[in-house]
């Protein structure tokens, strides 16, 4: 395999493993803010103990998120030297802002969040929690801005020739607010909220199944459910808006996601299916005219197909079709899970419905798969470009790095990630089994409880 392919595999491994954790810290961060907010609002110490348990889970996730995130800071330069030289001027101010505004905020106040319970006042501690959550969101914001510029670059100018050709910043705000920034930041952050909310739902449902810490579990589950319900509905709006944005800004990408080879009206939407790349057709369950509707809000207009450009400029249609539809399927599964849970709540049957609780326990995996597939779609859908229309991935690798070096570091990181993942699951599992402390069920609460 060549250096570019190996570097892509390595980057995919790094980012996929890293991307398990920040969405959880962003989502769980929001939930910590709500929980501790409840404590300040109601002055009920139960919420304080509740928050302390989730903070411990948060700390574990955050630690691995930071450790694996560190790899990313280096990976751009070590494996994608030409890319770094090319985008450095544009990314410079974005990543500088991320470091100074976001990383210090979250890492700094994390100390108070974890160890400051008796050192600062309740209000000050809440402030620290808000700052950690805000910092986590903020770092997500900046890095997605950088990635959005790679999707829809604006506000720059190209200078130099050959090896010294690079993009230079021209209009700062146009770089920040490039056409896809708003859609993509919203889409990613809601995906993160879902990841955090479903983690809380899953662990709470586990306690309900085991009939342990019932009050703790119900109170946590309610907060998780509110966040999950809000997010899943918002994600519908955001997903629709993102897809239309892709149709306008990256029409080839959209054509690949839906397997539209020929431009013909009306364009169908596939619920599921597979791409026959040889015959350039899609076989599956189709909804006639729905892609036209999605993009143009009418059932007749033709959505431009892949045939507008040379096949060398197509992404891998068969793969991105599946990742894209897989992501949407995960939305569907989360939506149904929430629907069943709300129904069981309404019928006051949640406690007795082992089936719903069991579904909630496994549901933690749905947003994870959705987030991963979403990134694959975004990144592989942009191929063969590293920066849309400006720099091809094949030109982006480091000039002097050899395949042997990439294989060596790839092996090393695969080993470390495997080890980390096993340890993470092991420690998470033992934290969950150990359970929260200081949250014994209050008789009045459990007596009045009818769910």
């Amino acid at each position: 395999m060549d250096v570019v392919t190996l570097s892509r595999i390595q980057f995919a491994l790094n980012i996929s493993f890293h991307y398990i954790f920040p969405p959880l810290s962003i989502g769980l961060g929001l939930i910590l803010v709500i929980m501790e907010g409840c404590y300040l609002w109601t002055k009920n110490p139960f919420y304080e103990k509740m928050t302390q348990f989730w903070v411990k889970i948060f700390a574990l996730i955050f630690a691995i998120g930071v450790a694996t995130g560190l790899v990313m800071v280096f990976a751009f330069g070590s494996n994608w030297g030409n890319f770094s030289r090319f985008v450095g001027d544009v990314f410079g101010s974005i990543l500088g802002a991320e470091g100074i505004f976001a990383f210090f905020l979250e890492s700094g106040f994390l100390g108070i969040l974890l160890f400051g319970w008796h050192k600062v006042s309740a209000k000050m501690h809440f402030f620290a929690t808000v700052m950690v959550a805000f910092g986590a969101h903020f770092s997500g914001l900046w890095i997605v801005i950088a990635n959005s510029w790679m999707q829809t670059p604006t506000g720059h100018k190209i200078v130099g020739e050959g090896a010294s050709r690079r993009a230079e910043i021209d209009h700062f705000w146009e770089v920040l607010l490039n056409p896809s920034t708003l859609d993509r930041v919203t889409h990613v952050l809601i995906g993160c909220w879902l990841a955090g909310a479903f983690l809380v739902l899953s662990i709470s449902a586990y306690y309900l199944l085991k009939k342990r810490h019932i009050e703790f579990a119900v109170r946590s589950l309610k907060i998780g459910l509110v966040v999950a319900t809000t997010s899943i509905l918002l994600q519908l709006i955001s997903g629709d808006s993102s897809a239309r944005g892709v149709a306008i800004n990256q029409p080839i990408k959209l054509a690949a996601l839906e397997g539209v080879y020929e431009t013909k009206a009306p364009t169908p939407l596939y619920l599921t299916g597979y791409v026959d790349t040889k015959n350039k057709t899609v076989k599956g369950i189709e909804m006639p005219g729905f892609l036209s509707f999605l993009v143009y809000r009418n059932f007749k207009q033709a959505v431009p197909g892949l045939n507008q450009v040379d096949p060398s400029l197509w992404p891998n249609v068969a793969v991105v079709f599946q990742t894209y539809h897989g992501m949407i399927a995960m939305w569907g599964l989360m939506f149904l899970t929430i629907l069943f849970t709300l129904y069981a709540f309404w019928k006051k049957k949640l406690m007795s419905s082992k089936w719903t609780l069991g579904l909630l326990v496994v549901s933690v995996i749905f947003p994870q798969i959705g987030n991963q597939l979403g990134w694959y779609t975004a990144e592989m859908g942009r191929q063969p470009w590293a920066v849309q229309g400006l720099l091809k991935t094949s030109e982006a690798a480091s000039p002097t790095v050899t395949a042997g070096q990439v294989i060596a570091s790839l092996t090393l990181f695969s080993f470390i990630y495997l080890l980390l993942f096993i340890l993470f699951i092991y420690l998470l599992d033992s934290k969950i089994k150990q359970g929260p402390t200081g949250v014994d069920d209050t008789p009045e609460y459990t007596k009045a409880l009818q769910i």
């Binding site: 560190l70 770094s84 001027d89 410079g92 802002a97 100390g111 050192k119 230079e168 480091s398």
Partner: protein, 341 residues
């Protein structure tokens, strides 16, 4: 706009300095970790750095990100050249992070011992690698006329001079960490730790004297500017005073001042490094005049540097303000409770 480039160079050197002063004591504590034999002592060590080490490490991210932002050419070449050593450094940073976080999560002695050893090894390894990277930068690495790296993958970094600087940095951090621990502990443990400071200082002084002599003889380019501008010797003199002040303050029982002296020592050493190597970011051992990557040929556009200056002007006062606040919250001696590591 030469001022913007100089400004960003100062920011980069400041980031290195803050990283060395702050994460330096975390790494030093790690390098001393196995010398504490009791579980409680080791927990005190970990909790002494517990609330702050994560924030301290961000300075490294700022340093690397700052290079990407202001000097993309230096960033790309540096990380490509040091490819394999960097993979090692990153692994070290990962293991250090998880060792701190995981160690006290289980009561089992085997579990704890494993993470103790990993924490120690990772900290020593990071300190050595950072020092060796610095040593290689002083000595220069082979770059061609396109500023691409042309040297070996691993062995070419294991030069005697680089190893010497690696040992110096390890000694420096161990001394810094020992002083930090004395400041954060009390009673019997503190008395014991005071006994560690002296050998740490001697170890550092030996490494320091040898490195200085070797630099004077074999790396004359580093001291050229000092010879041309003798008033810069004030920096070296201040550094000697800062080091001499450390045992004095410990003797007087002023641990906070001893720690500040140690910080001043680190800052002065790095300022001397910056004075000696400017304007080179990466000194080339082949045709240094044309092939070296400098503050001027690696800089981002004026627009980017100006935006970065605005970001720094807004962001850094904020970072310093809440940095101070956080260190104030956790000032005083370490006390273990149920939320501790």
């Amino acid at each position: 706009m030469i001022y913007l480039e100089l400004f960003w160079y100062v920011i980069i050197i400041a980031a290195v300095t803050f990283y060395a002063m702050l994460d330096g004591f975390d790494l030093g504590v790690g390098a001393l970790h196995l010398f504490a034999k009791k579980d409680e002592e080791r927990r005190i060590f970990l909790n002494a750095i517990g609330p702050v080490w994560d924030g301290n490490e961000v300075w490294l991210v700022i340093l690397v990100g700052g290079l990407f932002a202001g000097f993309p050419l230096a960033y790309a070449t540096l990380l490509t050249a040091f490819y394999i050593p960097l993979a090692g450094l990153i692994s070290g940073l990962i293991f250090r992070a998880v060792a701190i976080e995981f160690r006290s999560k289980k009561k089992s002695p085997t579990w704890r011992k494993t993470w103790d050893v990993l924490f120690f090894l990772a900290s020593v390894f990071i300190a050595l690698s950072v020092g060796m990277a610095l040593g290689n930068l002083v000595q220069g690495i082979p770059l061609n006329e396109n500023h691409d790296y042309e040297g070996g993958i691993i062995l070419s970094f294991l030069q005697p001079y680089a190893i010497l600087v690696g040992v110096l940095v390890l000694a420096l951090f161990a001394m810094h960490g020992a002083i930090y621990l004395v400041m954060k502990t009390e009673g019997e443990l503190q008395e014991k730790l005071k006994g560690w400071v002296q050998p740490a200082i001697i170890f550092f002084l030996m490494a320091y004297v040898v490195t200085t002599l070797v630099t004077l003889i074999y790396q004359p380019q580093m001291t050229e500017r000092l010879r041309d501008r003798p008033y810069l010797f004030v920096l070296a003199l201040l550094d000697v005073l800062a080091i001499a002040n450390i045992p004095r303050e410990i003797h007087r029982g002023k641990m906070g001042f001893a720690f500040l002296s140690s910080c001043a020592n680190i800052a002065l050493l790095l300022i001397l490094f910056a004075v000696g190597s400017f304007p080179d970011l990466i000194h080339s051992s082949i045709n240094p005049e044309t092939n070296s990557i400098t503050v001027f040929n690696a800089a981002s556009s004026t627009t980017t540097l100006a935006i970065l200056a605005v970001i720094v002007a807004i962001g850094v006062p904020l970072v310093i303000a809440y940095g101070f606040y956080i260190y104030r919250v956790f000032r005083g001696k370490v006390k273990l409770d149920h939320m501790s590591y």
